[in-house]
């Protein structure tokens, strides 16, 4: 997994909390910085893809590893 600037563990949280927490964390970050999000909600795979498309933040990576979902989002 590529480098990241900040990490958000949203394990155990259900829709829409992972997205809301990610949005809040991104708000406090600089443009170009990368956020690593860990989630267990299977719905978050489609949701982070949709979140990136609609907000202009880039979804650099989306993968499942060890029963958890990992996302890398670069702030626009």
């Amino acid at each position: 997994m590529a480098d990241f600037d900040q990490e958000l563990d949203a394990s155990g949280l259900n829709c829409p909390l992972p997205i809301l927490r990610a949005k809040k964390t991104l708000t406090g970050m600089q443009s170009g910085q990368v956020l690593h999000i860990i989630a267990t909600d299977p719905g978050s795979v489609k949701d982070f893809d949709a979140f990136a498309k609609q907000t202009g933040n880039e979804l650099m990576e989306s993968k499942e590893e060890g029963g958890k979902f990992h996302f890398l989002i670069k702030k626009a």
């Binding site: 829409p16 909390l17 809301l20 949005k23 979140f51 609609q54």
Partner: protein, 158 residues
Amino acid sequence: MAKKLAIIATKGSLDWAYPPFILASTAAALGYEVQIFFTFYGLQLLKKQPALEVTPLGNPGMPMPMGMDKWFPVLGLALPGMQAMMTTMMKKKMTAKGVASIEELRELCHEAEVKMVACQMTVDLFDMDRTAFIDGVEYAGAAAFFEFAGDSDICLYI
């Protein structure tokens, strides 16, 4: 210019409290400008201490825990205490599954500057006291709703 989402929230049960707050908070996170107009039973969602319950009555789609639907036919669901018990079980399940509480989602909406408008007519109709509602609520009528909803990209009646 930001997209706009207008929601009318008309229901005051625990289960129906979720769609307006989930959609409003998510839309706000996606950059939407959001307004929710609370009318009739939907006003219960604005109470400082919302006492929301879920009822199995008249709700054949509600999954019943422990096969209770086999043991309690429809009339059994009307027994005193059944609604309170269902509500407790639903809340426990929600906590176990990492589903946010209504108060938490509502606070997230508030932080995301979702505008919450209470229907003044219903407040009068039910003799409700404004002090029972959370801070930051605006009071208006149908015309005010259309001012926002008329320019909205998505408009939902829940």
